[in-house]
Symmetry: C3
Subunit: 339 residues, 3 copies
């Protein structure tokens, strides 16, 4: 294949790409899933290097990006910035500009993961990715930052498309619901889901206990997307009501915004107290839906976020979506980096 | 090559495979050693991902498995579970089932290493591998657990076959002898050697100072294997006597079962005291043998476990067996994972 | 390509190779830079394993060596010796001989990085590489030790050749100048530069504040090289004078020899005090030169070692030289390891 129209592009949030561009990636991901290890895909990035920067550790993201590179003929370098002497206000070191410019000489692309507990204030992680993107001559891919998680969003959409057999999500209802859990989860997967699925025409119900507000800018944009599509957007603080008529339930713990003030260790203690035991996704609630699919970005905190019966039930897409991470990552790497 | 009869199989202990199956692997390993880097082998797992889970660090095992994957056209991901949030009785996290099912979507196989100091009680490491095997859709390979080390056992057999020029080990005598040393070694290599070599018809003498008993279930099975083959099995607590007439001497330190009660740090202190200086494999003892080969899984604690003269002498197979690790691992990966 | 005349050779310091041999590597590096990812280069080390031992962490060296292996079809294993149980005077473990001999069975070559803070006395790092080289059956490549950094030296020369369009450096003047900085840098890049550029016929001025002497043996050899070439060699303790008429300015911080006595943490404190603010490479000083090129091995401590204006100016070769690291490493790996 030659260079695609997406050659050289970054992917930091799905909203940075048009729906047509996202569709191109999703179509190629489906083709790659059907025809895995085909000769034509195995050479797309042959001999190339993809750099993966993990400011935060990760299992699934690391495994799936590293495998994606391998399946395209490339090699993904696993890099942890404890070994990087980057310049900060506190210490001497290398500027992001120097790091990005040098890596652009070695690599065909750079993936970065940085979450809330490695930054000073909300948004700084996403800003760091955009700073890299400003200096790098190669694509910057967001492997999850404090705001967005575009490959999770794409994998979710690919999962629903696969199960529903249609790209037309209009008239379908997404319940994006907070779950209690023993870990304080990032906002990125949830916010990405709200942004991309609202653009695709879904009705969106966002449900969470008071005190668990997300980024108002993201919520505002999701609402505007729904309005532009003539779809419904609502926020409820009710553990059950939102399930009514849902076509897909995305149940997932997330931390409260207070964590940014009080610290993430304190937030983890709060979450461990499991104060909202009614906020679990279970069969009783799922019966209120329109045979909804169950989505979760994994790892699943079973027994807290969701019961085993739902997570392992026939409507659960968790393993399918986890696999899709690989395929959407391969597709985007091929489209943005393939010569 | 197409799929072998071993496609999809786990290898957790050599006793899980028939002698015919082990022979298939050993034959392919020899072919791969003779014809390393041949075009036909370089593509067997092209573009595939092999996951390596190191609950315990390792040098040789990591190097040889990672090289094995490379030489088959695959890529081995080096994963350390400090980065994995697995569910335990103490903490929330991902279940082994979820981890195994997702990894099966990304990888053609999973290797796991977990030794005695990362578990609560003897046998839990091996049990964890079998739990993974119960859930994974791809082969689980044992890269050394608290009980067994199948690839070491296969590499040992390959080494003896190579030197003796025969697959028929009947009538040959193995001395499996404890050595003093400054490190408390695992039981896995020694137990695997007892199990596989007793099946191959060797006479087995197991020698160790009192207090260094191994797993009675394994010893019972080795004894039964010898009986079934009409071979001799004996246990002696004598640093010298067992050498008499041996064809192969496998001298290696191992920890006492007391380590499981008192803790591994305490055991290391005990071993460092080097209380059994007569339990060293040296030239004087080797003279009592029938020009025995010397085996050791490395790393060798020279001057304690064995003298330099023996370890670097003409009958020593240590480097040859270390190289064989690569070849048997390649062969088993090819047989269990090659399409 | 078949085996080159350099097949099997180590590269620990450029002075271990003849100028003709270095020229062979530089020519191949240039060819590889012009024709990156060509089919002929992608297969040179196909399926081979290159071992990288990082006693000290590194970013650029790791990235560029790992990418070099990838671009030759090989795989570079990233190894940190905290996982290695090497024998020392204090502790039991594996001998360098055993480690080197086993790795020679798995790998086509071994790279080692070990700097001043992981050794007991100056020279021990370089001595360790030579001990490995004495036992290994495959090439040992120096990825920076306490004395030398041959690939940095080659990348520097490649950068100057590229910009000047000539291999003839006679009559050109190198200013090798100490810079103040908040980090205590190793001597290796600077000493390698003095050794190789003095062999190439350049006039050399070495400038540093009193108390920052380098290895007298290296200085003596650089001086002798200049004399043999009829070139000038001088040492000055003046932050400005040496710039006069320079064709290339290599400005870089380095630690004082006192660090070997007082410890590296103390040295870092001393450097952080930034007691020599006049020792910065800036535009005013660069105006005294003959439109000199600016060299630095990166990472650059901007604002201390050099101003942004110089480091990012048109005469700066920093990114070009960083890229050249990849190409010279590829070339040397191909020449010393390619079958």
């Amino acid at each position: 294949m030659g260079r695609s129209p997406l050659y050289g592009r970054d992917l930091i949030c799905t909203r940075d790409w048009s729906l047509e561009e996202l569709d191109l990636a999703l179509d190629l991901a489906s083709e790659m899933k059907r025809d895995r290890f085909s000769e034509s895909h195995l050479n797309i990035l042959r001999g190339r290097t993809f750099m993966m920067f993990f400011y935060n550790p990760s299992v699934r993201t690391r495994q799936s990006f590293e495998a994606a590179a391998t399946e395209l003929g490339a090699h993904a370098q696993f890099l942890e910035p404890r070994a990087m002497r980057l310049k900060t206000s506190q210490s001497a070191g290398e500027t992001v500009e120097d790091a990005a410019k040098v890596m652009s000489r070695y690599a065909c692309g750079i993936g970065i993961r940085i979450l809330e507990d490695r930054i000073g204030a909300y948004g700084e992680g996403d800003a760091l990715l955009r700073e890299y993107a400003g200096h790098a001559a190669v694509p910057i891919l967001n492997m999850a930052d404090d705001r967005f998680h575009p490959f999770q969003g794409l994998a979710d959409v690919m999962g629903m498309r696969g199960r529903w057999g249609t790209k037309d999500f209009r008239g379908k209802k997404l319940l994006q619901v907070w779950s209690h859990g023993a870990l304080a989860r990032s906002w990125c997967s949830v916010q990405e889901s709200l942004l991309i699925n609202s653009r695709l025409g879904m009705d969106v119900t966002l449900a969470y206990p008071k005190g668990y507000d997300l980024d108002p800018e993201v919520i505002g944009e999701a609402k505007a997307n729904c309005q532009a599509n003539g779809a419904r957007f609502e926020i409820v603080h009710d553990a059950v009501g939102g399930y009514d008529g849902a076509d897909v339930v995305y149940a997932r713990n997330w931390m409260s915004p207070a964590a940014y003030d009080g610290g993430f260790d304190k937030e983890k203690e709060i979450q461990k107290a499991l104060r909202h035991p009614d906020w679990i996704c279970d069969t009783n609630k799922m019966r209120l839906t329109d045979r909804a699919l169950f989505l979760h970005p994994m790892p699943v905190d079973r027994g807290h976020e969701v019961t085993d019966e739902v997570a392992s039930g026939p409507q659960s897409l968790i393993y399918e979506v986890a696999e899709n991470r690989l395929h959407v990552q391969k597709a985007v790497m091929a489209l943005t980096m393939g010569e």
